[in-house]
Amino acid sequence: MRPFARRWNPRLVFGAIVAALLLGCTLFAAQLAPHDPMDQDLLNQLRPPVVMQGNDPQFALGTDELGRDLLARLIHGARPAVLVMLIGATLSGLLGMCLGLVAGYFGGWMDAAVSRTVEIFMSFPPMLIAIVLAAVIGPGLDTVIIAVVVIGWTRVCRVIRGEVLAMRELDFVASARTAGVSHLRIMFHELLPNLAPLLAVLFGLEMGRAIVTEAVLAFIGFSSSDVATWGAMIAGGRAYIYQAWWIMALPVAVIVLSVLGLNALGDGLRQATDPLLRR
């Protein structure tokens, strides 16, 4: 197996940087943020960022309608997003992968059951499911994670199932069967390594989606209410969009960057690990 360092590509670098930034903000929010995110300063409301007129240098990115420092709120907002992203994407990825493997490999009634379930889940707009779940369970970060998993597993399951269906017919599986290898071993030792690049891409996509789901639920007010979240910032900023558009623009920019970075990470990992893509 080639040393990992030789497989670096631009996408992977970009993705890794974004991931590192996100992680850094999550772990070291208190140290990085220049102010307390909840600290209201009613003398300094709606201050623009440093590059614009009327700014106050102690608030590098400006303040919101209650005088809270936007940079601090952005940094602290990373934590709920990253938590949802890591836990949610991992769980939905695992669930989707296992069900997809089983459905694609065994076929028959198991495939029918899983496919029918996926079809039923996909009969709803994903955001509708998220909102309804939030209404049913109540606001909170765990609700968001549950929503992410409920929506996300079907996407992963479908793709994995398709791949497994195709791989099942290939010779290396047949030879493993004739050698007497058990189904379980085949799935985890033969099929899974071949699925790894695809899973990397899917994982990147799911993480991006998880962040958006969190932002959406926060936007509506169903995420955790005790910390600053990017979605809540967007919702709050929308009311002041004509006077202080940066309040909404900054969290949007951060989310866009995160999604692009996480997608790139998944794609970059695939390029680095896929033996068929050797340059």
Binding site: R116, T117, E119, I120, M122, S123, F124, P125, P126, M127, L128, I131, V132, L133, A134, A135, V136, I137, G138, G208, R209, V212, A215, V216, F219, I220, G221, F222, I234, I241, Y242, W245, M248, A249, V252, I255, V256, V259, L260, N263
Partner: protein, 335 residues
């Protein structure tokens, strides 16, 4: 293609619909918060609460509730909204045209733009337009409609104030229309000035919904066009002296659409699902927008009605796409 096939296809949608209904029912009965408690004034007695609960049928055992539920659905009775105190069916149907119009405009626009981009990228292969279109596709695909909606608001609504960022029409304007299909009806009536006034409100929501679909169509179609152009029948057309442009549109495109529709079909459904969020962001008065309020008030009947509406819409859309596929692929028709 016989009506028998159509009937069979419709029949196949029933198990899925049934599963959907069961899930909706189960999900909304597991509510930890109590919607009744949210509705009653503080001085209400437990007897009042119990009476109200009985009115909404929430005091009977689960199985009974389910049967009553099914029976009511079959009659078209979707219950009464707890928060708005009106008939749910009426509420949903009242808002449905707005959502349908938005979805329709978005889909039509996506088709035209996606096909056009794919044709341009194929015709001008190797030159900068192809490169630009590929880049556009990548970017359009990486962000979901929610983010595009917000970016569009910032770019075209605030920083360069071109378009309105909320609502469906100017509240000071008199519409004088009979149905809720504002744009369609104004076009049908020939009232083009009214249509022109309505259009700016649709531009940003439709654009936010369309961008991912345009990218999917453009990408898939470009790939299948390139596959089609190396086939023998294209060579035959060239040998017969047809120009490159005519070959692309008359010979390659009809063949290339077949695999593209298969892939893009699923994304049409995603687009309709995306209306839920986009309506919320643009305060567009459609069915999806109603969901938010219903969720906040734990308005079970309304949430139910909206969810069922979307599920039925999706199932119908699936059917339409399957039929569309039959129309464009003659080879499948005869098997």
């Amino acid at each position: 293609m016989s009506s028998g096939y159509l009937a069979k296809r419709l029949l196949l949608t029933l198990p899925t619909l049934f599963g959907v209904i069961v899930i909706i029912f189960v999900l909304l009965r597991v509510v930890p918060g109590d919607p009744i408690a949210m509705m009653v004034p503080p001085e209400a007695t437990p007897a009042d609460v119990a009476r109200l609960r009985a009115v909404y049928g929430l005091d009977k055992p689960m199985w009974d509730q389910f049967l009553i539920f099914l029976g009511a659905l079959a009659r078209g009775d979707f219950g009464t909204s707890i928060s708005l105190k009106q008939d749910v069916f009426g509420l949903v149907v009242g808002r449905l045209p707005a959502t349908l119009e938005l979805a329709l405009v978005s889909i039509v626009f996506s088709l035209i733009a996606g096909v056009a981009l794919a044709l341009i990228a194929t015709h001008l292969r190797g030159r900068w337009p192809e490169w630009a279109i590929d880049g556009f596709n990548s970017i359009a695909l990486s962000l979901p409609e929610f983010l595009w909606a917000l970016l569009l608001i910032l770019a075209l609504g605030v920083l360069i104030p071109l378009l309105p960022i909320s609502g469906r029409f100017d509240p000071t304007q008199q519409l004088g229309l009979a149905t809720q299909f504002y744009l369609l009806e104004s076009l049908v009536r020939g009232n083009f000035t009214l249509a022109a006034d309505l259009l700016p409100y649709l531009v940003m929501p439709a654009l936010a919904l369309s961008l991912p679909l345009i990218a999917v169509i453009a990408r898939m179609l470009k790939s299948s066009l390139q596959d089609a152009l190396v086939q023998d029948y294209v060579l035959f057309a060239r040998i017969n002296g047809f120009s490159a442009g005519r070959i692309l549109i008359r010979h390659a495109l009809p063949n290339a659409l077949i695999p593209a529709v298969t892939v893009a079909g699923v994304h049409f459904i995603f687009l309709v699902g995306g209306t839920v969020l986009v309506e919320l962001i643009f305060s567009y008065p459609g069915v999806g927008n109603m969901l938010y309020r219903a969720a906040v008030y734990r308005d079970l009947p309304l949430i139910q009605g909206i969810t069922i509406a979307f599920a039925v819409l999706f199932v119908l859309l699936n059917l339409v796409i399957d039929l569309l596929y039959l129309v464009i692929n003659p080879r499948v028709r005869h098997s």
